[in-house]
Symmetry: C2
Subunit: 634 residues, 2 copies
């Protein structure tokens, strides 16, 4: 039995089986709805409004009777039993194709070019032109003997050359069509070449992909492997987001059945293939022109991408199936590049310090630094690396997805409509906002949240523990209590993009304090492990999509970042994709990444009380111990 | 539109699409019909009789009006347009599951054991028991790090250990189900181990297959990789035989379209999978217990098995796609063993000296012999290797499939009903026969044909050129002319198994003379290349299913084998499968095979006039130059 569901205001109609959840139906219509709890009906992020028709709902979470009477439902727990018309309000949407790419492209170029000269340009795949002699009765070597000999001559290399069967099957025709002149695409690894494509000679270069699979977003760079240039780039949401916001809810969903693991793998592969398809179309290329891909991802994302059961990542003692991941031909994953092209996945360090951090460590070049560097990647989780050329320690501190907008009522990513700066008059609590794209605000992004937290404290709206001060002298109606929570109105409905008051709630504030506290506690714990003081850090590098927009001053004020001279801080943007770009272009860099995966010491914060003590102390603004923040005391 | 076809006397009914050829319909009914021309309607081997119903025929070849009126049709050129009843006479049938295996199993055991002690027991795949420590928060190495470390410890080896993604996907569950004790199956190659299966610890050994893919027959040996024992063996016809008798007609069929290449590949893979299925059932094993397979095949059979277009093998200058063949996981071919288990295919030397000859050269140990050895493999083709520990030359001499019964009107393989010895009274031309299985004769096998040729000549039925002497003084009615040919009756219909006179025709005799002439000319040409005399050969080893039954005396009399002391001759049976068995059990032997493929010099007999001159001289019984056969002059 099938029904039509019309999604508004998009006016997109899809036909779905009876019993399909609205969140799935919307996904089929190309509309992506937020969800943090993996479809359990507890997070309330997936609110939709059923305008017409009868839908069956088995859970309503904390929807109010008023909301229910208006047709508001949880998209994950509401199922199609009729033809429906359903509104998906802006705050419930994941806006697709709006993911921030590295927009400081000169920085990227500088940094990867610099590193490249250190490691040398030697891409993981390449295309070479090979001219073979024509065979005769007296020179009757086989096609492959003829070709492999010429490849060795051309490359002046004694490395073994392999060829998979599927490529060998195309060899006789290609050789004769090309009149014994071939373009040969090779995987170029440490110990061997593998011929992954043979074509009649042509001048098209080979291309590669640098891919960052984040829990929330995926980013693809198209790179010309002849000269290392980034030709195109595109980002999008990870379609796994339907199954939950963070790695834990993804794991919970993935282990429900073999199908759900497959479903999770398909979701991320489809996310990537959609981006690849767009890029290929734009650049007028074929998927077979893409000779390799380097994947940077956290441990859970990597295992899901590879179809490896992630359940033991979540269960104590938190054991990943593998830190070192074998390189696999794309055909085994279904990634839409050359079928025999290798997919190289960055090794991880532990279940919660993944390949994205190894990639970032490679890109930031910490392992070759004389100075002591602290590298913080603020993504959906929060991972920290500390060290220099002699030693490296790392940890993960479960910051949660706040700074990417997750778990925050009006949280969103840094895109048009996101509040990024807040000014609050301490007397009247009047607000002025800076909104990305200078449009009416619809939500708050990470940097806006940091600013907001600092300003709410400064204006006395919250105390040092984040409690709302309802008796604020201003008596402003911006500060109000609802049935569910206390909240502060940043933008009234009539001035907003979503026809709703944009607010920050006490719950949001507590979440933010926990997130910033976790990161600060992580830094402190890591320092204790190596018996160092905060002042001994020479440089602090901040990565993650959120990084570039962060205001150091405000971040220190709320106790997210340590109170050190501002010139020690450096923003690095998407360090994960930058490392992938670098590895793609340099076999030596890739080898270094493999070594980094082995040599970085992982500190498990759940052992002992250090982290928990630090965390509890950090649940204040900026901290329980104000001596740690001398600049704020002043 | 579908019709039923009933095959008699089997009384097997199949439903087929309109337009299906009778040869294909029969194959669906499990009845295999001979064919030498690849379905072109020229060889006349596939005669069937349409008893009921209307069939459409587009070619009748050299069927007589009398035959046509009796309903005789060519199975390949007759198509289903109605419900039919069709008789398949015995002489048109390939009898399945009757292929001769190596029946001198003690010889096999001796010889491979001897060689094994030379190369050392070191199978290409093995199973090891590995106990891992249980992880904890303080010992949180990944599953794979834990396992690979223990494998290295267990094997005391520093070789790299790889694991394909599909096996890694099964690792977390196997480790925990086995309580950290695993049975690990490994591919054990020169440069690396690959983990191809992980299971909770158990005591079942790993098994391997030694496989001989002949043009006519396929043979599978099941080998216990723990101790090297052959546990079971089975042979059958190569189902490709439907598409033609010899490699040329197979190639012609295979290159018609991409589908026909696929069809040819499927035919041989299905032939093997059927055998494997029988063996597994008999031995109560699973396909995943089969950890590897070594394939010995001629160049065309190897390319067809691997799905590589064989067309350039047939076209001058006769170039194979590859002599060295990459080892491929079974899943890429569809062979029913462990999906990641490697299929190792013997390298070939040239288009017409294939991996079967390299395998035979390995098994006969020529490359380690101080004596000069001549190795002749008399199969569907005729290949010759000459040499010792210092040098090896080889050639192929297009003998054709006569000695396997192909191209001979009543030719058949050595199985019950086959005439193997003939006595002809020179005066009366009365005949007495020795028939395999002591049953009424239905045809003549290779050794019977050699004997018959010698006896026909001795009795004066044929002259030295093979012409029938119709004026033979006996005036026996056994010697007679038909509309098509002259023939000699070996067994009258009422004494035969097939209700027909079993005859040998002048055409058969000419074919046999060409075949024996080609082999002798090949030997002479090869000797000339290295400027040697026949007498300098120390040992002659004869391989091929036919070999064991050959009578040296008669073979010399017809000029098939050189006139040398009989104690120089040695019969080796199926040298191809023996070499595969040996390689399966010894990595060093496999490596030697790879080197043999490179170091054996191939002599192309079609260059220059040497071979042609020798061939023409050899088209007499025993030869034009009787000084070459001193023992016969006596």
């Amino acid at each position: 039995m099938k029904y039509n569901v019309t999604f508004m205001p998009d006016n997109q109609v899809v036909e779905v089986e009876k019993g399909t959840s609205l969140i799935k139906a919307a996904s089929q219509a190309g509309i992506f709805i937020k969800s943090s709890c993996g479809g359990k009906g507890t997070c309330g992020a997936c609110k939709v409004v059923v305008l017409e028709g009868e839908a069956q709902t088995d859970r309503t979470g904390n929807l109010t009777p008023e909301q229910l009477s208006r047709g508001v439902r949880l998209g994950c727990r509401t199922f199609v039993e009729d033809n429906l018309t359903v509104e998906v309000p802006p705050e419930s949407r994941l806006q697709d194709h709006q993911v921030l790419l590295e927009n400081n492209s000169s920085l990227l170029r500088e940094s990867s070019k610099d590193l490249l000269s250190h490691y040398g340009f030697h891409p993981l795949a390449r295309k070479v032109q090979v001219s073979c002699s024509e065979p005769s009765l007296t020179d009757n070597a086989s096609d492959w003997a003829r070709l492999s000999l010429e490849i060795k001559r051309t490359l002046q290399s004694e490395k073994p050359i392999k060829i998979p069967l599927s490529v060998m099957q195309t060899l006789p025709e290609a050789l004769r069509k090309g009149n014994w002149n071939l373009s040969v695409t090779l995987s170029d690894l440490e110990s061997e070449y593998t011929v992954i494509r043979v074509e009649p000679a042509n001048s098209k270069p080979a291309f590669g992909l640098a891919i960052d699979i984040g829990t929330t977003t995926v980013v693809v760079y198209l790179v010309n492997l002849d000269n290392g240039e980034v030709i195109d780039k595109q980002g999008a949401y990870n379609k796994q987001a339907h199954f939950g916001d963070d790695v834990i809810s993804r794991i919970v969903y993935a282990v429900e059945s073999e199908e759900s693991l497959k479903e999770m793998q398909n979701a991320v592969v489809e996310s990537l293939n959609a981006l690849i398809g767009d890029i290929l179309k734009r650049q007028n290329l074929e998927s077979s022109d893409l000779a390799t891909a380097v994947i940077s991802a956290n441990t859970t994302m990597a295992q899901l991408f590879l179809g490896i059961d992630p359940r033991y990542i979540r269960l104590e003692p938190y054991i990943p199936t593998a830190n070192w991941i074998p390189s696999v031909p794309a055909k085994e994953i279904g990634l839409n590049i050359l079928p025999e092209g290798l997919i190289h996945t960055f090794p991880s360090v532990a279940s919660y310090v993944g390949g994205d951090i190894v990639s970032g460590t490679l890109a930031t070049d910490i392992a070759n630094s004389e100075e002591i560097v602290l590298f913080i990647d603020i993504g959906t989780n929060g991972e920290i690396v500390l060290g220099n050329q002699d030693w490296l320690v790392s940890c993960a501190c479960s910051a949660g997805p706040c700074f990417e907008g997750g778990g925050i009522l009006f949280g969103m990513r840094a895109m048009p409509g996101a509040i990024e700066r807040v000014v609050i008059d301490p007397e009247t609590l009047d607000v002025s906002l800076k909104v990305i794209g200078r449009v009416p605000p619809v939500g708050i992004c990470g940097s806006g949240l940091v600013d907001c937290l600092a300003k709410l404290r400064e204006a006395g709206v919250i105390d040092r523990a984040g409690n709302f001060q309802m008796g604020h002298p201003s008596q402003s109606d911006r500060l109000r209590a609802t049935d569910e929570d206390k909240e502060f109105v940043l933008s009234w409905a009539h001035q907003s993009g979503g026809d709703k008051d944009v607010v920050i709630t006490e719950n949001d504030v507590k979440n933010l304090i926990r997130a910033k506290g976790a990161i600060y506690a992580g830094i402190r714990s890591l320092l204790q492990t190596v018996a160092m003081e905060m002042e001994m850090i020479d440089r602090i590098i901040i990565g993650g999509g959120f990084g570039n927009y962060l205001n150091v001053h405000e971040s220190v004020r709320i106790g997210l970042l340590p109170d050190l001279p501002h010139d020690k801080f450096e923003f690095f943007g998407n360090s994960s994709v930058k490392g992938a770009h670098l590895a793609l272009l340099s076999r030596k860099a890739w080898k270094e990444a493999e070594e980094l995966g082995r040599k970085m010491t992982y500190i498990e914060l759940s052992i002992g009380n250090t982290f928990m003590d630090e965390f509890v102390s950090a649940l204040f603004l900026p901290h329980t111990d104000l001596t740690l923040f001398p600049s704020i005391k002043e």
